[in-house]
């Protein structure tokens, strides 16, 4: 008769084992107040060369509704954006430490353009900054200008020297921002010393210093010149 008692005891222990093994109190946490994130405040205003526009549009205290963007270098190219308030202030409350691109842009609305004689205008500025703590920066947006050749994108400026690197595909994305024809004939493009391969461990600082600091001109690993004599 002892066996059934023992069996019952074992079964009771096993049942207890199973019954006790459900999840107990489980809480879902909301994000906590502060991490390593740093706040960046940006004041956006019009450049002093466009003081008349600021006066006319009532933007002397700051530019409203400008789009401000930040991008942390070394990460996927994805902007964080914010719009300025009526006083021209934008705030990014939680940037992690690092080197950032900061840019701001504003185009006039139809109503605003009408106040300036129906001329379309746009304004922009940008800089790079290192965020390591709360900071405030000011961007003075310059107005658009006619008459410039704009190089919007550039990829690859070296001359292929071997068959290993994929340096054959070069391109430039350019805009003619003027109201007349601009000829590229004779124009020279070069890349200054600034890429990582110009620096240690590939080249010692001392080795490239004379080229960086040469007051007589600009040194480049490669120069490319457009053909033509002036109007071809």
């Amino acid at each position: 008769m002892a066996v059934p008692h023992q069996r019952a005891a074992v079964m009771a222990v096993l049942a207890q084992l199973l019954a006790g093994c459900t999840a107990g109190e489980v809480e879902l946490y909301e994000p906590e107040g502060s991490g390593l994130g740093q706040g960046l405040s940006v004041k956006v205003e019009l450049d002093s060369t466009a003081a008349d526009i600021a006066e006319a549009l009532g933007w002397t205290a700051g530019m409203p509704e400008a789009e401000v963007r930040v991008h942390r270098l070394g990460t996927e190219f994805r902007w964080d954006t914010a719009l300025t308030d009526s006083a021209g202030n934008a705030h990014f409350p939680d940037l992690i430490q690092g080197l950032y691109r900061l840019a701001a842009y504003r185009a006039l609305t139809d109503d605003e353009a009408a106040q300036l004689g129906s001329r379309r205008r746009a304004f922009g500025d940008g800089l790079m900054l290192y965020v390591s703590g709360p900071r405030t920066d000011t961007l003075a947006l310059a107005p658009d200008r006619r008459g410039a050749l704009l190089i919007a994108e550039q990829y690859g400026t070296s001359t292929p020297v071997d068959l290993v690197q994929w340096d054959y595909h070069h391109y430039l994305e350019i805009y003619n921002n003027s109201d007349t024809t601009i000829y590229l004939d004779g124009m020279i493009l070069g890349t200054g010393f600034g890429h990582y391969w110009d620096n240690p461990p590939y080249n010692a600082c001392a080795a490239v210093e004379p080229f960086r600091n040469d007051p007589d001109g600009v040194w480049s690993m490669f120069f490319h010149q457009f053909p033509g004599s002036g109007a071809e």
Partner: protein, 553 residues
Amino acid sequence: MVSVSRSVSRALRLLVAVAALAPAAETARAQATDAPGTLNGDGLPGWVTDWSPLNYLGDLPRELPGRSATFSELLLMPAPRLGVFWTAGNPAGLPFEVGDEHVQFGFGLLNASGDCRRPLDAGEFARRRFSGLGWGELGEWGGVIGRAVVDRTNLKEGAFADVLLPYASNPFIVMDTTGDELGRTAARLEGAGGWRVARLGLGLSLGYEAAETRSIASPVPRLDRSSASGVAGGVTYELLGDGRLRVGVAGRWRRAVERIQIYQAAAQTRLYQLEGYFEPEPLDPGTRYDRRLEREAWGLDLAVAGRALGGSFAGFARTEQMQEIQFNRLYESDPPHDRWDADGWTVGGAAQRPFLGDRLLVTGWVRYSVLEGESQRWDIDGVTFRANEKSFKADLEVRVRALQGWEAAGRLSLVRDYRTRRDVLGRTRSVIHNWQPGAGVEVVRWLGSRFALAAGALLAGYAPSGGIPDPVTLGPVTQEYVAPELALQVTGGRTAKVRLGARWQATAGLAFWAQGEYASLTPTEGTVSIPMEPTGDRSSWTLDFGALLVSGP
């Protein structure tokens, strides 16, 4: 001369046994031959593996619930041993504690599958393994032990992890979205030797492990090469002769290196360097991605063992330090690196006492580990992630020996984990504690003096509580690849294991054996509904067979 000749002969047999790559279902506890995502990977009892110089230092990897509950290995293993060597892993204790010779070889299969898993566990896991284990006296004054393992593992169905150990304490994990099948070949060789001079014991253990993990066929080939080296050296002294009181001190060092290469040969993948609960930036590395992991750890042990009150006891205390750096710019002399630093300590002990003559043997083990770790990203000043983890484990085994051809062992185990992991950058944390009680029984029936059958069953529970980040507050990548593991950690569950085995004693010193085990993990429905909680079950089975070079019952 006869004695010397016999000793040399025995030593040669042992060395041959150790060097030949071959047994049982033991799982090495180092990185490459570990089997995360399975339920019954650890086939050897802890006292057989605690000495390994390749064991983790300063790390408490997270396992699936119930995996740590093990059988007593009644069919293959002698009665549990304890001491400065067997409990604390000090090789200088070997010549005093090695006891009878034991050598086993084996071949094993392991397969695990099922949906109840973590996101970085492969959906299906299949392993073939040859291994060998042996120990014995070396002459009159020495003792040796060694183990060799070679295995081949296939990871299928969502093998997203690009590192060997995706659930270590360190939050820096590399993964990508390819998930194609991986094949891993790993080899491990480790051994220890100890010698005694009067009451003084000296010992050294060495271990080396290497592994290569490759895509089987994938438009995004992935390659992970790793190696780990470990060494432990120690000294013991018998304060009271005849094993009544022995003390020891040992130092240990372990270094592991892992290199990851991913090629976007014919398709694109999304790479993520997970770093806790903070949303990682997707990486599009172009044609090739490289990352190197360098892990270095140190430990210092104090141990004591002896006999009292008709039984024996052992205890130890160990401090541990681990530092890991990870970096992508492989060809720079001092590349910027992410860094993980962990400090910890472990105390443990064991006691054993026979009752009813030697018919009943009761053995108990306890172990408590504490770890604190901090991570730093290369591009950010300050600590970005902190872990505070504690783990307690206690086992009690009762063996009944040689009762009219029957042998039996009952085992109770209790695990208590407490892990707080705080992501400073992500501004959130998880605080998870759990109880894992387990109970198992094994029975061996000798049919005559040559043939034995064995059967065993084990049940383990998992009862968690605590808190995790609300998944909706996490980023999309963290939701997909991190949050489900947190949900599984706070979901109750139970693990059941059954095993059958047989042993044939061919000659007085040679036996053949076979053993199969099935394990399943089932989440239990609690009163709390947890977002992303796991569904389905997970099961794994092992089939092992081999030879034992020991005498019969």
